[in-house]
């Protein structure tokens, strides 16, 4: 018999069984424990860290690069034990996430100082993303936030496709105490944008938030539809949309990168909102996204209630990757 791979070593199977067992316990063990105190840095520890980062959806490439940087320091004996390694890892991640530096201090304020204050032109915020990520819910929460800050808000129901999309946004508008502009199901979304922006100008509204239908970034016709809405907005309000928020579900895996790329190239995403962080998913794909596209993460969604939207805090986020 000629076997595919050399001669099988008798010990190999044992080694395999062992490594499978390790993988299992690895999953159970918290990284926090792995890195506790004076644990020595050895290849096993690094392998466990790799698993932890991968399990948080950071992806192969990002994980490899982060670990490489750490490994270099270990080799140069800059890092002595588990505790120092942990600090270093967190710093690496924070470094990536705050690469967007300038945007962070204003994170609490999506209107970024509302240059439009005093003028009649409203701040126009587009909310986009693939299906079911939490766009409509986020809009309800955001409207509430802006109201709390004393701004006048108008919602635009430009998802004319999904069943009961209007009704859903209508409930949020009432909860947030803001007005809603809508048309019949099946209407041209750009026409709803037109209506909403005209209404906003007439009423000197501070911010218009546009809900858009969920769409997969691979569908060029639907992406073109978004572009058209954007053009319509720009015609009515110079510089609009001022913000294009890409809503991403924290459970999203590696596909998130492709989503961010395509939405950015089609409609110029300005910020990311990471929803459903109240679950067990870590949302690590945003690290890869920030790394590649430099998009700031502005808010995170942490529940289904109106107040469950908070500014993104890199420190908290990074800590949660190691829980």
């Amino acid at each position: 018999m000629i076997t595919l791979f050399g001669k099988p070593e008798p010990t190999l199977l044992e080694r395999l069984k062992e490594s499978v067992g390790k993988t299992r316990s690895q999953l159970a063990a918290r990284v926090e424990d792995l890195l506790a105190g004076d644990r020595q840095i050895d290849p096993a520890l690094l392998a466990q860290l790799e698993t932890a980062l991968l399990a948080a959806d950071l992806g192969v490439r990002t994980t490899r690069e982060i670990l490489q940087a750490v490994r270099d320091k270990v080799e140069r004996r800059v890092l002595a034990d588990g505790a120092q390694l942990k600090t270093e890892l967190k710093n690496q991640l924070l470094g990536i996430l705050s690469g967007n530096g300038t945007a962070l201090p204003a994170a609490a304020n999506p209107t970024r100082g509302a240059e439009s204050a005093g003028t009649a032109a409203p701040r126009v915020i587009f909310v986009v993303g693939v299906n079911g990520t939490g766009k409509t819910t986020t809009i309800g929460k955001l409207a509430h936030r802006l109201r709390e800050e004393g701004r006048s808000v108008l919602l635009c129901a430009a998802d004319t496709f999904r069943a009961a999309a209007n009704e859903q946004l209508d409930v949020w508008a009432r909860r947030a105490g803001v007005e809603l502009i809508k048309q019949k199901p099946g209407a041209d979304p750009a026409a709803v944008v037109y209506d909403a922006l005209s209404a906003a100008a007439a009423r000197s509204i501070d911010a218009v938030i546009v809900d858009t239908a969920g769409r997969l970034h691979t569908k060029s016709n639907l992406m073109a539809e978004l572009e058209k809405m954007k053009r319509t907005a720009a015609k009515l309000v110079p510089g609009a949309p001022h913000d294009v928020l890409l809503v991403m579900d924290a459970t999203t895996g590696q596909n998130g990168l492709s989503q961010a790329r395509e939405f950015t190239s089609a409609v110029g995403v300005t910020d990311i909102v990471l929803t459903k962080l109240d679950g067990t998913a870590k949302g690590g794909i945003v690290v890869a996204i920030v790394r590649e596209l430099g998009l700031p993460i502005r808010f995170v969604g942490i529940g289904e209630k109106i107040q469950d939207l908070v500014p993104f805090d890199p420190q908290t986020f990074v800590n949660s990757l190691f829980d």
Binding site: F5, D57, Q168, G279, T280
Partner: protein, 447 residues
């Protein structure tokens, strides 16, 4: 763009030629590449590592098959292992005494309500009388959504009036089903987190009350590593009977299917491939495996091709391929054939991103509208121009543009694409002629 597994393995084994023998290092390198492919495809890291151990052991003991190269043989081992994990193609379950109940569960936004509508439509077209009912008393307009879905597909929806309690709602639906002889009740539920104790308990109560024949976990194909936790917990609480993988019409690899299969043992019964209510398909494990590994859904593609490609035209095309006389006329024929095959995104998603097709995706993301414009442009050419593209100079391009209501730029684009195709066919022709890549050869009109 991810490199697909075959390419990765080819690289691993490249330096093998001449040397002839695969060593332990080759195996290590191959396993590393397979791991990367699985992780890129969103297979959970723990699940991947367990799979790798098995794959490694199998590769270790595998006998050399003369008809396969080492990389092909390793790919085959990987595919077999993953396919086995996903189980066999499974049929939906009904209870012996109607009405059967199908309970739809899952995380927020995964596609439960839409899938409820799709399944109702599917059941109805298979001779059943389905009734849908929503127990989502939490999310704004959730019940209204299902009511509108039902209206859109022309099927009944139990509108529980006067109660906000899921248990009472489903009791009403059961009464109604018995009264009006509906044989399947599809129960939509609110999206919930697996760690939400209260709402998970609620599902347990619904299960006890309904004794469903199917408890379907509706999972988003884009979900990543956390799928093992959520699916695992839903399964532990409820005992899932099946999985529906939604939003497979995008470019997600769908490795979560493997993670979910591993932790629940429940088979994927359907896949969602669009927002419309007929965008539901049966699930075939081998197809998703190719997809996870980035090798395209070749099987489906070939089937679709066989269904819709006119055999005579195809033979003619093959002849032309061999003789290398691919004209704009043929280009147009190919476009038409392609359009007959269905929504373009679906087809592109199925193509393996390898060989000459590796460089296609950007250009290939044309929508139906653009395809029609391309056709209009070719229609505006004279027969002579279609036969010999070199005739088409600047002046003719202007004429063609105005004739087709497009721009010169677009005409240039079409001509460029056509030239690329010709070039591609030159490389592709011999293989197609040998009959090796038969199905693909016919399809190479894509661009």
């Amino acid at each position: 763009m991810f490199e697909n597994l075959t390419e990765k393995l080819q690289r691993v084994f490249k330096n093998l030629r001449g040397q002839g023998k695969l060593t332990e290092e080759h195996l290590d390198a191959a396993v590393g590449q397979i791991r990367e492919a699985l992780l890129d495809g969103d297979v959970n890291v723990g699940v991947a590592d367990e799979l790798l151990a098995k794959i490694r052991a199998k590769a270790q003991g595998a006998e050399v098959m003369l008809q396969l190269s080492p990389d092909q043989q390793v790919v085959k081992i990987v595919r077999d292992e993953l396919t086995e994990l996903l189980g066999k193609h499974a049929r939906p379950l009904f209870s012996s005494r109607p009405p059967s109940v199908w309970l739809m569960v899952g995380l927020q936004g995964s596609g439960k309500t839409t899938t409820t509508g799709k399944l109702a439509k599917w059941l109805s077209s298979h001779g059943h009388r389905p009734l849908v009912v929503s127990t989502d008393v939490y999310r704004p307009a959730a019940r209204e959504q299902l009511a509108q879905v039902a209206r859109a597909i022309g099927l009944p929806c139990w509108a529980a009036t006067g109660t906000d309690k899921p248990l009472e709602i489903v009791r009403g639906a059961i009464r109604e089903a018995k009264l009006s002889a509906y044989d399947v009740i599809l129960v939509d539920t609110a999206g919930r987190l697996h760690i939400d104790k209260e709402l998970m308990t609620e599902l347990g109560e619904l299960k006890r009350e309904l004794q469903p024949s199917e408890i379907l976990f509706i999972a988003d194909a884009m979900i990543g590593q956390d799928a093992v936790r959520s699916a695992g917990e839903f399964h532990r609480r409820l005992g899932l009977t099946g999985v529906v993988l939604t939003k497979l019409d995008g470019d997600a690899r769908g490795g979560a299917a493997l993670s979910i299969g591993k932790v629940t043992g429940a088979p994927v019964k359907f896949v969602g491939i669009g927002e419309k209510y007929d965008a539901l398909e049966a699930f075939y494990p081998d197809r998703i495996v190719s997809r996870v590994l980035g090798m395209g859904d070749v099987m489906t593609l070939i089937e679709k091709a066989e269904q819709s490609v006119d055999a005579k035209k195809a033979a003619e095309f093959e002849r032309k391929l061999r003789r290398n006389e691919f004209t704009l006329e043929d280009f147009r024929d190919q476009l038409r054939q392609l359009r007959k095959m269905g929504p373009l995104e679906q087809i592109i998603g199925m193509l393996p991103k390898l060989g000459p097709l590796a460089n296609l995706p950007k250009d290939a993301q044309v929508d139906e509208g653009r395809l029609k414009r391309v056709e209009a442009i070719i229609n505006s050419m004279t027969a002579a121009e279609r036969e010999d593209h070199s005739l088409i100079d600047g002046k003719r391009r202007k004429r063609i543009a105005s004739g087709s209501g497009t721009s010169v730029q677009e005409v240039n684009q079409v001509l460029k694409q056509y030239m690329q195709m010709r070039k591609m066919i030159k490389q592709f022709g011999p293989a197609a002629a040998k009959g090796k890549l038969r199905g693909l050869g016919k399809l190479s009109g894509l661009s």
